[in-house]
Symmetry: C2
């Protein structure tokens, strides 16, 4: 554990959430207050900004605007999907990162993202150590997918879950309004883990949710699905289905692959529709009723107006705790949450080795998923309810959210050569 003096850098990575900027606010505001931190930078588009030496000077931003980041969705300094090569095979990118870190005397590095980002963070940390470069590296978790390992949950999930649950309740009122049979299929994000689709069960818990819920944790059997739908339709006249985009058959096929002809665009990219749409298209061949496919699309990860206060607070604190830990000499860890109790809800902020956080996807336990595909058990409800509590959103201006406006003044490029 070394007490370092130098600059701090934050990068954001992966898909947006409603609260990734809340973590950024936590990192920035805490870092600006730390004596050992001489300058606070934001990497424009994550790793890409580092490779390009493209940094925002956070000390030039207004504190009011940094505070507004707490309620501004997505990544204000830009995100990236960029996977570094395996350093054992090709370490040229790592050498370049080291060069930049040396050049700008970056001694504190914070990376805010999901699985891939923690993996990146871990590799960078290990490489720097091997090269003898002192830099405290801390991961700050974020993902609407809630699939980061070891931690009880991840910032971003609570707000996305609140969006999914609230919206299912509202759709329930809309989709049951007519006196005619109807099937509504709603697609929720989550390629491998069904946490976000599971949040539809919170609407069920309120008696205003879907009738059927399909997560990728369980093999999807189309014939069982059609028979499930038929049963509910006969009983209620209306069916609402929540389906994860990532459900697969036992042959490993995604739903759009089953019911759509593979069409390619002029550039050879496959043009496949969504899971809900593919199911609705096949339902149309089996049920002579009104059908509707709905995708929550980008809204479920950017609806900051519907953020959970618990989530915003935890995301912000995760950023602050990461800085505090790094300044105290901690490195190579991700901030995580350990649940002390659900009722009353209490968590402890913990430090998880990056290696552990990055390596496996945390999935919904199979015994939390009801055997008959009608939803999740009370265990899930008890787990998830505390995460969606409270409202916190941007103040309104002209009736619309007043999001943060950063000046994004760039750190002057440092052209002096530093020894590799």
């Amino acid at each position: 554990m070394k007490n370092l003096v130098g600059n701090a850098l934050l990068g954001q990575s992966g898909g947006p959430t409603s609260v990734i900027n809340a973590s950024a606010a936590g990192v920035f505001i805490e870092a600006l207050n730390q004596e050992n931190i001489t300058g606070v930078f934001g990497a424009v588009h994550g790793i890409k900004g580092i490779l390009d030496e493209d940094f925002i000077d956070i000390s030039k931003e207004d504190l009011d605007e940094l505070n507004r980041l707490k309620n501004t969705p997505s990544s204000s300094i830009g995100s990236v999907r960029y996977k570094l090569k395996d350093p054992k095979k090709d370490d040229s990118e790592y050498r370049r990162l080291l060069e930049v870190f040396r050049k700008y005397n970056i001694r504190y590095f914070f990376y805010n993202g999901g699985n891939d980002s923690m993996d990146t963070c871990n590799k960078i940390s290990k490489f720097f150590k091997k090269e003898g470069f002192d830099c405290n590296v801390m991961g700050v978790p974020k993902t609407i997918d809630n699939d980061l390992n070891v931690t009880d949950h991840s910032p971003g999930y609570g707000s996305a879950a609140k969006y999914v649950a609230t919206t299912f309740m509202e759709l329930f009122h809309d989709a049951t309004v007519y006196d005619q049979p109807m099937i509504t299929v709603v697609e929720v994000m989550g390629r491998n883990a069904g946490w976000l689709t599971a949040a539809a069960a919170l609407a069920q818990y309120k008696g205003q949710g879907p009738d059927l819920v399909y997560l990728p944790e369980k093999t999807f059997d189309p014939e069982v699905f059609f028979s499930d739908v038929d049963k509910v339709l006969k009983q209620k006249g209306k069916v609402i289905v929540a389906v994860s985009e990532g459900i697969k058959t036992k042959e490993g096929k995604y739903v759009p692959e089953l019911y759509q002809e593979l069409k390619k665009d002029a550039f050879g990219h496959a043009q496949l529709g969504g899971t809900a749409q593919a199911l609705v298209s096949e339902l149309g061949n089996r049920f002579n009723v009104k059908l509707r496919a709905i995708e929550f699309s980008l809204m479920q990860r950017s609806a900051a107006h519907l953020a959970s206060k618990v989530d915003v607070t935890e995301a912000y604190n995760a950023g602050r705790k990461a800085v505090q830990a790094a300044v105290a000499g901690v490195t190579d860890k991700m901030i995580g949450f350990k649940r002390v109790s659900s009722n009353p809800y209490k968590i402890k902020y913990v430090r998880i080795p990056l290696q552990k956080a990055a390596n496996e996807e945390q999935k919904v336990p199979l015994h939390w998923i009801k055997e008959d595909n009608t939803g999740l058990t009370q265990d899930y409800i008890d787990y998830a309810l505390p995460l969606i509590q409270g409202d916190e959103k941007a103040k309104l201006e002209d009736g619309l959210p007043r999001f943060a406006k950063l000046k994004k003044i760039r750190v002057q490029k440092n052209d002096k050569k530093t020894p590799l």
Copy 2:
């Protein structure tokens, strides 16, 4: 103008909005307070409930729950899409309605809906008059499409517009986060009138909106569209497009008809995707960049958590004013809004002859649409901003909206024969 004593009946009709129940609350709560009104009924699924004598006894509901209707989306007593026949050709349904009204001594009739509902309301009113049955008939407007005639705007529009503007702002942050070219096409409801798509211009006004906006009021030229997109893409690297579902080419074709093969399901129904999706599919043949199609779908008309306080208040008041007018002897009118000033925002509640309200669709004035398809003029902004002001939503319970729960105790069916 007759002062009648008898029962009052409310029916809801057409597509849901976030505030149609606020108008119902206004009608119910005001009617329960009126001495001349002996009983207050809700027709289950509008006209259908009347034909079936299926009525909810509103006096049996808790006042707290009726107040909660103000912030509960969709139609709590059930809606319907049912067009009565032309009474000149076949008046059997009107005779049946008259029979039911007589049987239940309904002397006050309120119908809450859009164009078609006002037409229904008008025909019923005229038929009752011709038959010498005294019943004061009042229309209460609602439509997210904002296409009702004569009134400055309609309840439901402000909240839907607030959803569209807020969500475009959030999507703006999401869709511009990566450092790679991308085109996002977002489809907004509105078959013939572009009011709701126009609300995307409110996000532009905040500097966080779409680059291009296409309303059905203007002929859609695909080649101009592709060239518009190309221009923005070259300039900014990212393009966000707002498109109304109802845009048509000069040949009168909707977009999905242009770029999709007509596929039919097993029952012969056409399986056409949405406008955004069809555009994205063709964009894929022209631009080798990341593409995304988004539909606001049912969310834009049921997101009560994002309702405009102005809209909720006006919807509620429209219901109350309709009852007050009817009790004062007014009939054959729809409550409408006349704008006194935009800044400060001030309206007067007015009574519009049903005949006038029903007959024509109010569209976005062409001179409010920018010639180059980049948005709406300041005239539209000045018109729309007052309508999206303020927040009002259901209280939270377990972090989720506590919507109204009606007991829906049915009025006992009256089996005595009444003279036709």
